[in-house]
Amino acid sequence: MKTILRKELVFFTALFCIGIAQAQITVSGTVSDAAGPLPGANIVVKGTNNGAQTDFDGNYTLSGVAEDAVLVFSYIGFKNQEIPVNGQSTIDVTLQEDTQALDEVVVVGYGTLKKKEITSAVASVKAKDFNQGGARSPMDLVQGKVAGLNITRTQGNNPNSGASIQLRGVTSLKGTRSPLVVIDGIPGGNLDLLQQDDIESIDVLKDGSAAAIYGTRGNAGVILITTKKGKAGDPRFEYNTYFQREFVDEKPDYLSASEFRDLISQGVISEDQDFGYNVDLYDELIDKQNLSQYHNFSASGGSEKSNYRASLYYNDANGIAKENGREQFGGRVNFNQRGLQDRLHLQVNMAANFNKANLLGGGYELTDRGDWDKTTGSDFEQAIQRNPTAPVYNEDGSFYETEGYNNYNPLSRLAHRKLERDQQTFSGDARLTLDIIDGLSASAFGSYVRNTYNTRHYRSTKDWDQIRNYQGTGYASKFNYLNWSKTFETTINYNKTFGDHTIAALAGYSYQYSTTETFNAYNNGFTNDGFMDWDLGSGDALYNDQRPNPGMGSFKEDNRLIAFFGRVNYSFMDKYFAQVILRREGSSRFGANHKWGNFPAASVGWAISEEDFMSNIPEISNLKLRIGYGVTGNQGIPNYQSLVSLSTGGVYPQYGTFYQTYGARRNPNPDLRWEEKKEWNFGLDFGVLDNRISGSLDVYNRLTTDLLYDYFAQQPSFVHDRIYTNVGSLRNKGVEIVISATPIQKDDFSWNVDFAANSQINELEQLSNDVFNANWLEFAGLPSPGNLGPAIRLEEGGAVGNFYGKRFAGFTDDGKWLFYKADGSTGLASEMNENDLTVIGNGVPKYQASLNNTLTYKNFDLTIFFRGKFDFDILNTKDMYFGNKKWLPNNLLKSAVTTHDQLDDDPQYSDYYIEKGDFVKLDNITLGYNFDLKTKYIRNMRVYITGRNIATFTGYSGIDPELEDTGFEPGIDSRGFYPRTKSWTIGLNVGF
C-alpha cells in the first residue's frame, strides 16, 4: 500500500514538473467583427480545455498559454479563426461573418446536415430567433416563425391549455394531426420536459422527403427539438428569470346592471327580473393580481473530453382566471464524455418535471373516467348570461343561485370545489457512439420516458349540485394515469469524401414500446368536508344504496413500433446534392396482413449559384433549387382496431341476480393498414446582395390516401355502426415563402426584417371506395339549448372547414326568421329540411403571414412582431345566442337590442351569423438592453420588457378572431371562452 502511494506521488510530481517546464504567457486582445467588438466570443487554446470568453467590449485575457500554442477564435455565425501565438501577448482578431450561414447545422433526424446540403423542406429556428417573453409551452417560441407551421392558442395564456399545432394543413381524419415531436432523438418526447432556456434549436421537417426518416409518424410533419448541451470551456452559470402579468384584452359587450334596468323600464325585460344588485360577474372571475414568475439557473463546463450542463427551474404560471394556475419545477442534466482514444462517446440526458395544476378556474369538463379533460370557458359563459342584478351571495352568506337551464354560480363552484392535477414527468436517454474507423461509426441509443399524474376532484356538501343531486353530501373522485415508453435504436453512420464526391450514409433499427394504464375511483355520501378526497372510503354511498352509486375503473393498453431505416446523402463538388431515405416500419396497431409498410423518399438539390456561369451575376450570392418526393405514414389511431374481442355491455339478471353481459367490442378489421401520404416539394433558396436579402420559397402538393376513419359500417350485417378502415383521400396544396432582409446595417444601428407567409388549400378528394361509401361527415354540433345541428360539413370534393347551414332571407314583420328554401322561395325555420342547407362559409384561413422587425441601437434592441391570418369566416355563436332577446331572462349582449333588435325569434344557425375573420395582431413587442458592465464577475447581462398580444386589427365583431383553425372544426366562436389577454413580461438574463 505504501509503495503504491509513493509511486503515485512520484507520478504526480513528475507531471507537475513537466507542466512548469514549458514557457507560459498571458495573451489578451480584442475580438471584433466588421461592426465592432464582439462580446461573448470564445477563445480556446487548441488541443486543451483552456479557454476564455470576450467581455462586453470584446476583450479577453487568457493566461497559461504556451508560447507555441495555437488559439482558436469562434463565435456563432462567424467563421472560426486559428492564430499561432508565436510569443505574442496581444492578439486582436476580426472574425469574418459566415455570411452565407450555409454551414449552419440543421437537425434532420438521426443526425444533422449543413444547411447547404439540405434538399428537402426543413426549417430551423435557433434560440436567438425564438419569440421573446414568457412561453407557456415550447411551441410558443416558434409561433409564426415557420411558414406553414400553424400554432394556435385559443385559450390565450391559460397555463393549462395546450396549443394546437398543425403543419401544412390537416392530413388525417382520425389519425394524428399534429407533428411528431422528437426531443434529442426521443420520438414522442414530452413537451413538459422542456423549458425555454434549455432549448438550443427547433427544427421542422416539413415535407415527405424529409419526414420519411420517421416514416410511420411523418404525415403530420416532424418537430425536432435539441436541448442545450455541455461545452468545453470555463465553468459558466446562467440565470434567466421573468415576471409576467396578464391583462384582459377585450371584454364581451354584455349589458351592465344599469343597462339591464333600462330595458326593464322600457318593458323589454319583465320587472321581476330586477334582483336589486349590481354585479359584474366577469370582473369577479378575473384574478387581477395574477403574476407569473420563472427562474432558470444553469451551470455548464468541462473539458473537450468530458463536459456537462445542468439546469434547474421553477415556474409559477398564473392564469387570468381565478383558481387557474400551474406551478412547476424540475431540471435537466446533460453529460458527455469521450474516451478510448477519442473513439467512444457517451451522451446522457436526464430531465424531470414536477407540476401541480389548479384546473378549476374558467369552467371544466371531466372525461367519463373522471380525468380533467379541458378548460371549457363555461364560467365565462355564465359571466355573460347571468342576470347582472342578481346578487352573488344570499343574505346568510351562502351563494345565490339563479335557477335555470344551464345556469350556475361560478363563484360558488370556485369556493366549493377542488380540481387539481399533480404530475411528474421523467425522461432519460443515453447514446453510446463508437468510431470504428475513420468515417464509420456505430451508435446505440436508449430512452425511457415516464409520465404520471393524479387528478383529484371534490365537490363539497355546500356545492349546489351536491345539494340537489347528492342529498347534500360531498363527492370525491381520483384518477391516476401512467404512460411510459421505452425506445431502443441502433445506427451505423458512414461518411466519406472521395475527391469531389461526398457520401454520408446511415442505417438503423428502431424499437419503441408504449403503454398506458389508468385507475380511477369515485364515491359520495361524505357528510363532512374535512377529508375532501383523502378518505375516499368514508363516503357512505358505499353502503347506502339510496345514494348515487360509487364506482371505480381501470384500464391498460400498449403498442409497439419496430423499424429499419436508412439514409444516403450524396454531394458532388458542393453543387449537386441528393438524398435517399427508406424506412420499413411495423406497428402492432394494424391488421395481421398489413403490419408493415415501406416509406421511401428521394430529393435532389442544385446550388445554381456555385456554377461558373453564375459568377457573371455577382448580385446573386446564393441560389439553390430543391426537389423532393416522399412517402410517409400515420398510425395515430386507437389500439386493437383490427381485433375480435368482447367487452362489457352493462348488467342484466340471470335468475334474479344481475351479472355483466359481454358482446362484440367493435367491428374488427383485419385489413386495417397505414394511412399514406405522398408529397412533392419544390423549393428555391435565394440570397442577393451578399445575402442582405435572402429567403426561400417552397411549393408543395400532398395527397394522403387510405385515410383512417371510423366509417359508417353497413348495417346489416356489422354489429357496430362504425368500422375503422382505410377509405378516402385528402389533398393539401400550398406555397410558403420566407424572406429575411437587412435594410440598415450601420455601426451602431441595424434593422433586420423577417417575413414568413403561406397559403394553403385543403380538400377532401374522396370519402368512398368500392366497399365503403359516405356522403359526408358532420362536425361541430351546436350545443344545447336548441341543438341547432352540426355547423360544419365535410363533403367529398369539398374544402375542409365548410360551414353548412341555412341562408338568411330576412325577417317577417313580426321578427321571425325567414330562410331560403332550395327552390329559392322563403320559409320559416319550422319549414326547413336537409335539402335547404348549403355551404355558407369556411373557417380555415387561406393565408397566414408574419413580419418580424429587429432593431438594434447601441446596447438597445427592439423587436416588433406582427402575425395575421386571412380569408376565412367565423361563426359567431356568442352573438347567435346571447345577441338575441329570446335569451332572456338570461343577460344579453348589447347587440340583442341594437344590431339584432328587429329579431323576435329563437336562435337559429344560418349565414346571418357568419362573419369575416381576417386579422393582424401585434403579437410581440420586446425592448431589451445589454449592460456594459466593467466587472470580471458578470459576463453578460440583459434586461427586457415584452408585451404580447398587444393589439388586434380586425373587422370581426366578437372578442377575438383567432379561434381554433386546425382540424375539422375551425372558425367557431363558442359561447364559453377563456379570456384572451395582453401579457407584459419583465425579464433578466445574466451570465457569469
Binding site: D272, E403, G404, Y405, N407, I436, I437, A442, Y470, Q471, F488, T490, I492, Q546, F555, E557, D558, I562, S587, S588, Y640, L643, V644, S645, L646, S647, G649, G650, V651, Y652, P653, Q654, G656, F658, Y659, T661, G663, A713, Q714, Q715, S717, F718, V719, D721, S768, N773, A774, S784, P785, N787, L828, S830, E834, N835, Y881, K886, W887, D906, P907, Q908
Partner: protein, 543 residues
C-alpha cells in the same frame, strides 16, 4: 486489418440489429377479452346471450335514444317534442316527425337504423358463438340448456326483425355478422320479412321456457306468444293476410296461463299503478320486460324524454332531472274524460308544488320566477296567446300535460328507481284478442270483446262512475277501440303501430298535424347513408 474491420462491422451489425431479433407485433389485450378465454361456463354463455337485452332497451324503451320509441311516439297523435323557446328546435327533427315531412337524411333515423341493426348483430354474434359450443358438458351444461338459450335468441332476433319491419318495411334478413368485409345483403320484400318472422316465432316460441319469477327479464313463452299476437293482429295491414284466429289462439296461450307467468297465470293489475311502480319487477300483468335495477347499476331512466328541468326534483322529491322534451298533445289529453282516473294518475298537470307542500315550484324559462303550471296547450301563453291552437314552434316550458305513468318513488324509498320497463302486458293481450274478435266479426264488437276491454277499463273509473263508463257492444266501435287503446297504452311506444293498423296514421288529423294521405309514409325511408354504402339496399317507394 481489413479482416478485423470486417469482423467488427459484422459483429456490430448482428449485435445492433440482432439482439432484439424482435419484430413481433402481436397485440396484447388487457381491458378486453378474446373469445378463446370466454364461453367457459353457463354463466358466461348467458352473459353473451343477454347482451342484446341491455342494447335493446336503448332503442325500445324511452331512455333518451333515437330509436324505435322516439319515432313511434313522435310521429303519432299523442306525444310531441315541440320547440319551447330557445330549447328543442334540434335541427327541426321533431317538427318533421310531427308533420310527417321527414327525408331520407334524418340523423335520428340513422341512429334508429344503426341501433336496431346493432341489436340484430349482437343476437347473431351470440347465436354464432353459442351454436359453436361443441361440448356443453365441459361447461357443465346440457345440450337442452344450450338449445333453450338458442331458442330464446332466435325469438329475440325475430322480434328485432318485426320491429325493424314495422319502421322500414322492406329490409334484408341476415343471420350472420360481418367480420372485416361487408356482406351487403339485399333488400327483401316486407312479405318475405314477415314470413321469416312468422316462421321463426312459430318454430321457436313453443321451445321457450314458460315465464316464471326466476326468468324475469328473459324472453320466454309469454313474450313469444305476445309477439305472435302482435304479428297476427297486424298481418292484414302488413301483408294483406288476415290472421284473426291465429291471433286469438296466441292470446289464449297467455290468458290461459299455458305460457307461464311471474306468479302463476298472469292477471290484470287491480289498479293503475301496480304495473308501473318501482316494485313492478313482479307485476302480475307483465309478460315481457326489460329488467332494470338502479341498485345493480342499470337504471330505467325515462327522465331525458319525460322529465322537466331540475326544478322538478323538488316536485317529486327525486335527485334526477330531464330535458323537458316530450309533452302530451292537447287532443290526446282531451281524449280522457274528466272522471277517468288515468287522467290524474298518469300525468303531471296543473300547478306544481314542492313535494308535500302548497309552495309553488317556479319556472326557469318563459315563466322564470313564476309558478310552474302545466297547461293543456302548446302556445305562447307567456306572451299573451291564450286562444290559439298553438303549434310545434310555439311551446313553452309549461306546455302540455306531462308523463307520470311510471313512478320512481322518492329519494330514500327502498325501491327508488327500481322500475322495470314493461314491453308486453296482459291488458294488451286482452285488447288484441278483443280487436281480433271484432275484426273477425266485421268490425262490430262481440260481448266477449266488450268484456275483455271493460276488464281493464274498469280500473280507470270509480265504482259510482263505472255504470256509465263501461262499454257495450253498441258503444265499443272500432274508433272507440282505437281511442281506448290510446288512453290505456299512452307512453308505451305502441301508438304508431295502432294508428297504421286503423288506417289513421296518414289520414288522421290531430292538433298541429295535417294528414299527408300518402300511404308511403306508413314506412320510413331507408337512411341515405346506408343506401350509399350498400348497393343492394333498395329505397322504399315514394322516397
Amino acid at each position: 486489418m481489413k479482416k478485423y474491420i470486417k469482423r467488427t462491422i459484422f459483429i456490430l451489425t448482428i449485435g445492433l440489429f440482432g439482439i432484439h431479433g424482435c419484430t413481433d407485433l402481436d397485440e396484447d389485450l388487457y381491458s378486453e377479452i378474446t373469445k378463446d378465454s370466454f364461453y367457459s361456463s353457463k354463466l358466461e354463455v348467458l352473459q353473451a346471450a343477454l347482451r342484446p337485452m341491455t342494447h335493446m332497451q336503448a332503442w325500445l324503451a324511452p331512455t333518451g335514444g333515437n330509436g324505435y320509441y322516439y319515432h313511434s311516439e313522435l310521429s303519432s297523435d299523442q306525444l310531441a317534442w315541440p320547440q319551447k323557446g330557445r330549447h328543442g328546435y334540434d335541427g327541426g327533427d321533431h317538427f318533421r316527425q310531427h308533420y310527417h315531412t321527414w327525408t331520407s337524411n334524418e340523423g335520428r333515423m340513422r341512429s334508429a337504423w344503426t341501433t336496431m341493426w346493432g341489436g340484430v348483430g349482437y343476437v347473431n354474434a351470440a347465436i354464432e358463438d353459442i351454436s359453436a359450443i361443441e361440448d356443453p358438458a365441459a361447461l357443465e351444461m346440457t345440450q337442452e340448456e344450450i338449445e333453450s338459450i338458442l331458442a330464446e335468441l332466435y325469438v329475440l332476433r325475430a322480434f328485432h326483425y318485426m320491429k325493424i319491419m314495422e319502421l322500414w318495411g322492406n329490409v334484408p334478413v341476415v343471420t350472420e355478422i360481418a367480420q372485416g368485409a361487408p356482406t351487403n345483403p339485399s333488400t327483401q320484400s316486407r312479405e318475405e320479412v314477415f314470413e321469416y318472422v312468422k316462421t321463426e316465432l312459430e318454430t321457436y316460441v313453443p321451445q321457450l321456457p314458460k315465464y316464471s319469477a326466476d326468468l324475469v327479464g328473459r324472453t320466454t313463452q309469454t313474450a313469444g306468444y305476445a309477439m305472435l299476437s302482435e304479428l297476427y293482429l297486424n298481418a292484414e295491414k302488413w301483408v294483406g293476410t288476415p290472421m284473426w284466429d291465429e291471433c286469438i289462439a296466441a292470446c289464449d296461450k297467455i290468458i290461459s296461463g299455458e305460457a307461464g307467468g311471474i306468479n302463476g297465470t298472469p292477471k290484470l293489475a287491480d289498479d293503475l299503478e301496480e304495473t308501473f311502480a318501482n316494485t313492478n319487477k313482479s307485476a302480475p300483468e307483465s309478460l315481457y320486460q326489460i329488467a332494470y335495477s338502479h341498485k345493480a347499476g342499470f337504471t330505467f331512466d325515462w327522465a331525458g324524454f319525460f322529465l322537466g328541468y331540475t326544478n322538478m326534483q323538488e316536485v317529486l322529491n327525486i335527485d334526477y332531472s330531464g330535458w323537458n322534451a316530450f309533452v302530451v298533445v292537447p287532443t290526446a289529453y282531451d281524449a280522457y274524460d274528466e272522471n277517468d282516473l288515468r287522467k290524474k294518475d298518469w300525468f303531471l298537470f296543473g300547478p306544481q308544488y314542492k313535494y308535500g307542500t302548497e309552495e309553488p315550484v317556479l319556472g326557469t324559462e318563459e315563466w322564470n320566477g313564476q309558478p310552474l303550471v302545466y297547461v293543456n296547450s302548446i302556445r305562447r301563453e307567456s306572451e299573451g296567446d291564450m286562444t290559439s291552437e298553438g303549434s310545434m314552434a310555439e311551446g313553452e316550458e309549461n306546455s302540455g300535460a306531462r308523463f307520470n305513468k311510471y313512478k320512481s318513488g322518492m329519494v330514500g324509498d327502498e325501491n327508488y328507481r327500481e322500475n322495470h320497463y314493461i314491453l308486453y302486458r296482459l291488458t294488451e293481450i286482452y285488447f288484441n284478442k278483443a280487436e281480433a274478435l271484432m275484426r273477425k266479426n266485421g268490425g262490430t264488437a262481440t260481448q266477449e270483446a266488450v268484456d275483455l276491454v271493460n276488464a281493464s277499463r274498469q280500473r280507470a273509473f270509480s265504482a259510482e262512475d263505472w255504470a256509465d263508463e263501461q262499454y257495450t257492444a253498441a258503444t265499443l266501435t272500432m274508433d272507440e277501440l282505437l281511442a281506448e287503446r290510446g288512453r290505456e297504452f299512452i307512453f308505451e311506444g305502441k301508438r304508431r303501430t295502432d294508428l297504421i293498423r286503423f288506417d289513421k296514421y296518414v289520414s288522421g288529423t290531430w292538433w298541429d298535424h295535417q294528414p299527408t294521405n300518402d300511404p308511403n309514409k306508413e314506412i320510413y325511408p331507408i337512411p341515405s347513408n346506408q343506401l350509399a354504402n350498400n348497393p343492394n339496399l333498395e329505397q322504399n317507394p315514394g322516397y
